[in-house]
Symmetry: D2
Subunit: 359 residues, 4 copies
């Protein structure tokens, strides 16, 4: 625990690498919304490894099944249970857990916390846990789009030393993001990123990256001070994704370098409402959306499991060399794009419902 995220629009996820399946119960979904498995499958496919030439080659399939909460294509307002079966189930696998905790992996900490650890793979710390989030996020996103016209688009903005440039947060679309396998809409940078990932894989190594995300057309007023500010909920959501190390919104860490006179977003009239001339605030002031695009960045470390030999120790403290076998994803950011979008959608759907209570 806790495997639940969200106050009213909330998800409870379950499942690990090699059990029967991974799933989620999504509660708080408004009734009478059109919903089919295809609405959900689309984002699951974007999250799936093997959808491109850069990730692991396993084809996990990951077909979602709606178990409850939908009838005749309409949501009932009751919890929507969803399940994705694991292809690689080993429920009866009595194989010995490795004696060597993988450096920078969750093997050691899970054992310290629970006194037990799933026998293989990442268990609950595995990326497979995020399937439930993406399934729930797809529903949240549909609700936000239909009720508010909200658009959420994430993309890879850096891999290693290579940064995307010239992305317009006001205009970027998901189709543009999906034009290449790395999900970076700056095609020149995308080529360099691809080369970087291929090089890391060939070196049996891995590489980190950054995902940027923008949420457009939010109404002003979303976010709950003092503790459930929009940016606080978003930071919570993003740092709960495996392998993340940082979050910044609007000007972020670079804003800490600046003076107020340069950083403040001056108000201007935009149609019937006020808008701002710049958007260093990232669409949020005092923890509440101001109607400008919410944009933020999430840092992902390089995956911990690498094929290169590592000088480490086993659980008893005895020095040893670890060389991970099998295929491993050298860079998670291309497929994490859908996870970032999904978590953003879960945050916003929850805050949107909560704000309804004031109307």
């Amino acid at each position: 625990m806790s495997s639940r995220f969200g106050r009213f629009f909330n998800v409870s996820t379950f499942g690990e690498s090699h059990c029967y399946g991974v799933g989620v119960s999504v509660d708080g979904v408004p009734p009478r919304m059109k919903l089919t498995e295809a609405d959900i499958q689309k984002q699951l496919d974007r999250r799936r490894p093997g959808g491109n030439t850069l990730g692991t080659e396993r084809n996990e399939g990951d077909q979602v099944m709606i178990l409850s909460g939908v009838e005749n294509g309409l949501t009932l307002g009751t919890p929507i249970g969803m399940l994705v079966k694991n292809k690689d189930q080993r429920p009866g696998d009595y194989g010995s857990m490795s004696d060597i905790p993988r450096p920078s992996h969750a093997d050691y900490t899970y054992r310290m916390k629970y006194g037990i650890h799933a026998s293989s793979g990442g268990g609950r710390s595995s990326a497979r846990e995020t399937i439930g989030r993406v399934a729930g996020g797809a529903i949240a996103e549909k609700f936000l789009r239909e009720q508010y016209g909200i658009e959420i688009v994430a993309w890879v903005s850096s891999v290693g030393q290579h940064d995307a440039k010239g992305i317009d947060v006001e205009a970027i679309t998901r189709d543009q993001v999906d034009e290449n396998a790395i999900r970076c809409p700056d095609h020149s940078a995308a080529a360099k990123m691809t080369a970087e990932i291929v090089a890391a894989r060939e070196a049996k190594d891995s590489i980190g990256g950054v995902i940027s995300c923008v949420c457009r057309h939010l109404p002003a007023g979303l976010g709950e001070p003092a503790f459930d500010r929009l940016e606080a909920m978003m930071a919570h959501a993003m740092l709960s994704i495996p392998a993340t190390k940082g979050f910044e919104i609007g000007s972020g860490f670079s804003g800490a370098r600046r003076r107020g006179s340069d950083h403040n977003d001056l108000f201007v009239r935009k149609g019937e409402q006020l808008g701002t001339l710049t958007n260093n605030s990232g669409g949020v002031q005092g923890g509440i959306s101001n109607g400008e695009p919410v944009w933020f960045r999430v840092a992902f470390k390089p995956p911990a499991t690498i094929g290169l030999p590592q000088q480490t120790v086993d659980y008893t403290g005895k020095p040893t060399t670890l060389e991970a076998k099998g295929r491993h994803d050298p860079c998670v950011v291309p497929r994490a794009v859908a996870i970032v979008e999904s978590m953003a959608a879960l945050v916003l759907a929850d805050l949107a419902l909560i704000q309804k209570m004031r109307n």
Copy 2:
């Protein structure tokens, strides 16, 4: 809502700038713990503006009164109510709220959210709201120190372009931090930071900064996957502090530039347990503490209220020039050090109690 933070060890804060007072109810505090107002006052004094020559000159006093939950110097296990009176109360002030929303301030968003806004000052978005957090955090910190030997130390690591260097996260103490008013233990950098803040004030401007924080001597095993990972709770806590724009743990955004073979923290034997040779993970793997120091950084934007004229619009959209009157804090980071420590303590106290359920 939500004005509560924490699952089991939790705080409910109340109060805004010009009401009778600001306070907090702290629930989940273990019984039979020694506690006096002096334990709490110490951190409140560090948070208070006017404690040095750099902040605003108001002396707010901020004497805490324990209202409940403590008897004969011992906690009862019941909620600890605490109150700090506002000196500058204007409960009956019918004065007109300014017609001009301050750029990058919460004036506009509060009005859009609630349809009403406290008549003056920052209302609930004011830094005074953080008094309740610091009061609750002081209790959390005492509990962590006495039960686990945990030490939490934060310091100013940058102001504008000036960065602290050579700080040893394994050794830095709160006394060292408090050696200068800016709370930067690199005295050379501190001098430049001070000059930067003075210059900003003289220019009627403001300046941003970064606070670093380390939490030492955590037991391995704290943090609740999937959604309440230690870093996710910490990010939530930090981004709920006014004026924050970013959070990174361990290698953070710079880790996203690196390869796994370079970034992974190799295990070594440390006494009876395992430790790591490096600490790019920031003391957390898979969302769970590994026993190494948890260290992170929090970005603060420059304060929005500045004396320089700003070309903006009023609530009706009419262009106007805003020049803020009065004294304003040109840089919040020196006094936010205590707030960062307090929020960190609240997160860890909660996670420590929750982990007890597994023992």
Copy 3:
């Protein structure tokens, strides 16, 4: 923990018998609602002992002070902190706690739970803890009345063997309830109840009773299946009041004796909506309000503290005789009327706000 009640409209109470004061932070109160201390004081006065000749003779005063969340007589949408000072404070009282746990009182269980117990009085189990509930409930009730026209009226329906008869749940008013000190609108029964209470007091004994409550003009649709059904939340609320032993809604336990053909509430047209011919359901079907009056009953045991000698044991197990000194309330139901109404209001305000998310 947990000293919080409610999901969105919620109260966090603090305080015990002999600390500085008891209070509450009420979060989730809609903004722009007119509110003064007088709105709250009225119910506090009804809860106060000494308001009639039947309870204890102490005059506690119990003047409420609003600490935050209200400005110029309007709610801000931020938490409303409230405080009632204890007259009988003994913060430094080192007096020995009694060596004898009072039979059927919380002395023993608090000591077993916390390993410490407030030195005198009931501590947190004292009826004084309910002051925060009544203060919060008064705000909830005002919101419900103004937004929905909801009326909540509770009364004493039995004391000992004496039952009120002929009360019309569709018409009974709070003024009628307050016509006598015992708060029983059946004046004939009230006289017998009064005699019963006086007799119990003279015998240094105590007596139990039942409170009935009706909530009228609820919209259909309040209540959150599966676990937060209206009756489940109401039962939780009522059984959290000190000295309660039972809750029943509509036909209650007597309904368990009946056949469906006799018990079912047939639908009829009532204006633009459907209503029911009878109301054995107590205004709730499937956990959701149907628009008919919600009516329920709450059983209160006789107060545990009595002047009669009791053959019991001390904490070490040694047999002894306990004779409680001082004045004690021989029957709590007359003043618990306001507590029952307040808790009902807290439940309904929360459910009403939550249902807004579906509109």
Copy 4:
């Protein structure tokens, strides 16, 4: 929503009558506990209709499948997902929903709340929703039994006018309860109850009843004042079960008739701890367990769906006669025994884990 129950040991249920299946995710289960599907199936079989000659004749099967959280027969500390498929699935059924809301059923209120209702059966208000509770409760019960030796036994204590007599709450066992189909250990009363149910069925009618439950061997100290008192959580749990109308603990409503001198439970020495001579308190004082058996009663109304003609109206308010077709359970209490035990186990497991935080 809310479809979650419990703070730390908690269940999130999903599913309705005619969807793919009903299920639950159980979070907070301690790691390293032995667990197989057989542990869970046992209680599901007791809950299942058709397990005796008194309920409906449908044989639903209700085989549970563990989806996650268990490996090699041991819990991992991660969420335990479980699924029971519905045999009677109609996911694509476009059949018209009845135009007539069943009297005292949830048809009308679900439609008023959600603006939509599952096309047939009880949807989420159906008894099938309780499958997830029983599955989760079975795990909770195993934990309580193994860690504390806690025993939970419920039985039918009345059907219509017939009451069980002479049941010893200190000694009654589940085996004794299961000696007859009606689950009433007073065999003489059981025969009369059976006749009553058979008569109701033959008359196309239904009949209500009461379930009693005892929880033995609780440690003193469970229950969280002020709002999460043991009896408050238990009342919440019980009133969330479909068809319940009342809850009483210990002396309950009859206690409200009595004097304190008669009702108080005098302390006596019992081994190393204190116990009480009588147990009118129902094992709880001040909301906290005192070590004596917790015993309570739950009232169930007669099922709403009956074959007898009912004079009611359709959704438009037009008078009509409703005669329900098909087989319907004339009395729910025999199979609700397992549901009551399960909900009690969920409450106690949660409170037991929370109390661990104080040790």
